[in-house]
């Protein structure tokens, strides 16, 4: 069980704001932190990893106290055993792929599993390459192996897929699921991509105005209870075109672009770039052989 209860002041464009967190995370769970840019998601992970210090609070992981402002306990990052995968991968440019992974090994056990990880993650033959010679998706795979091989207690993923193209992103999402199933490690993913949240996590915490607002399964949090759709997708609005009678909304869903007719009420408050759920209620879709 991970117990988190801390406060930290953040400097946002709107002025000073408190990040005030109080939540528990099950051992071995896969949870997502969802929230707008600047909501404090990354600060949350940094505080957990020991890279940023909260003003006050208490952090306990598997019965070990990592931070307690009252007792003056503050374990440094080196003693916390978190596997941090950063948005910008942070591979060491002077080391090859293999050396990056080896650097993270804490013992010979880890060293003997390097080859297996390299093959599992589709990086066979790339061990001798420097990070600047491999693609963005491959870099994040290396960063993921590097974090895992250091035998962390928690895996922290700070929007590791946000800089990747759709194809690489979908592939790496599958890899993350595979890794989680293989290791069963407690994983906290930070994301602002709804489709990613739905695909990867069983539980999502939404950070709003510095606090954990809603939480639950992605379905519970993001889909209105009164919506009993037969099928649903999450997508992003690319264009809203209205001619006074009908509104045509162009959406990007996964790799596809589609158009949906919407009423004035439906599009009220929506703008280009908004994340939405597209659900069909009244008809049964056709299934045709592709």
């Amino acid at each position: 069980m991970i117990k988190l209860n801390f406060k930290r002041q953040m400097h946002t464009p709107q002025g000073k704001e408190w990040l005030d967190i109080d939540l528990n995370i099950e051992q071995g769970g896969f949870v997502t932190l969802y929230g707008a840019s600047g909501a404090g998601k990354t600060t949350f992970l940094r505080i957990l990893a020991g890279l940023t210090q909260p003003q006050e609070g208490y952090i306990e992981v598997d019965g070990e106290v990592w931070f307690d402002s009252r007792k003056g306990i503050n374990r440094v990052a080196q003693q916390r055993k978190t596997g941090f995968v950063f948005q910008e991968n942070n591979l060491f440019p002077n080391m090859t792929v293999r050396e990056n992974i080896e650097y993270a090994c804490r013992d010979n056990n880890g060293r003997s599993s390097i080859d297996e990880w390299i093959i599992t993650m589709g990086l066979k033959g790339m061990g001798g390459q420097k990070p600047d010679k491999i693609s963005g998706g491959q870099k994040q795979r290396v960063a993921l192996i590097r974090a895992l091989i250091s035998q962390p207690k928690i895996l922290l993923l700070d929007e590791p897929l946000s800089d990747l193209d759709t194809h690489s992103r979908l592939n790496l999402q599958d890899e993350i699921i595979k890794v989680y199933q293989k290791t069963g490690i407690t994983t906290i993913l930070v994301s602002h991509d709804l489709s990613e949240v739905f695909k990867l996590s069983k539980k999502v915490f939404v950070i709003e105005q510095g606090k954990i607002g809603r939480s639950g399964s992605p379905q519970e949090v993001f889909v209105n209870n009164d919506l009993s759709g037969k099928f649903k997708f999450t997508g992003e609005i690319m264009e809203i075109h209205g001619d006074g009678v009908l509104n045509i909304v162009t959406l990007s869903i996964g790799n596809h672009v589609t158009r949906v007719v919407a009423s004035d009420e439906e599009i009220a408050g929506l703008a280009i770039g908004a994340k939405v759920i597209v659900a069909a209620k009244a008809f049964n879709p056709l299934i045709l052989k592709a």
């Binding site: 890279l51 440094v76 990052a77 950063f86 060491f92 440019p93 650097y103 974090a147």
Partner: protein
């Protein structure tokens, strides 16, 4: 011929010694100046950079006073440790280390300041100590800055005149460096020997800088 070569050999012996000492001092000092949260560190920065603006003779003058046997430190070193600093090779090393300090520290400091903090944090999260992070992550990635520091310190020590003349004097085989020997030979109207020393210094300085710029011809942006 042997006597003619001596100032040159002594100059390179001094430059090598000083560069080695400066590397050992310069890396930790630059690291401390860059990463320390001490609010008085700007005083250390100022002291390190003082030789850039002071006339060399000023530093030489103070060193001469401090280390002279008539004063406490010089007296202590000579009577208890048997070390004479003024008018000796040791004095040349001390004077040159102080005078070339900014040439080693400032480039390394610039390299450290431009080094992404996120890579250091990544290393810490993998359980690595600041020392291991410095040796295996930071230093290998700021090689151009370190090389600049080494070359500048070496070249600057070769070209030093004022400080070494003040504290070292002009003792053949002990403190007479090439730059002082040139002055000496010109005074004695031996233009041929002075010209030889001058030419050797020009050629060596040229080739050191040539190799340096050749090695750094690639853009320094390594990330």
């Amino acid at each position: 011929m042997h006597d003619d070569l001596q100032p040159l050999l002594l100059t390179f012996q001094l430059a090598l010694t000083v560069t080695a000492i400066l590397f050992v001092i310069g890396v930790p000092l630059a690291y401390w100046i860059t990463f320390s949260k001490n609010r008085f560190k700007y005083i250390a920065e100022t002291l390190v950079s003082m030789p850039l603006v002071l006339p060399p003779t000023v530093i030489g003058f103070y060193l001469l006073i401090v280390f002279s046997p008539q004063h406490f430190l010089g007296h202590f070193l000579e009577s208890f440790l048997g070390v004479r600093v003024v008018f000796s090779f040791t004095g040349l090393v001390i004077g040159s280390v102080l005078f070339s300090l900014p040439f080693m520290v400032n480039p390394i400091k610039a390299g450290l300041q431009n080094f992404p903090m996120s890579l250091i944090e990544a290393s810490y999260c993998l359980g690595k100590s600041p020392w291991e992070t410095l040796c295996r992550v930071i230093l290998p990635n700021i090689k151009p800055a370190i090389l600049t520091g080494i070359v500048m310190a070496f070249a600057h020590t070769i070209g030093e005149f004022g400080v070494v003349l003040m504290i070292g004097g002009n003792i053949p085989g002990e403190t007479r460096l090439a730059s002082i020997a040139i002055y000496n030979e010109v005074e004695a109207l031996n233009y041929d020997t002075a010209g030889l020393y001058a030419l050797v210094l020009v050629l060596i300085s040229f080739f050191i800088l040539l190799v340096f710029y050749y090695l750094n011809r690639k853009p320094l942006n390594i990330f």
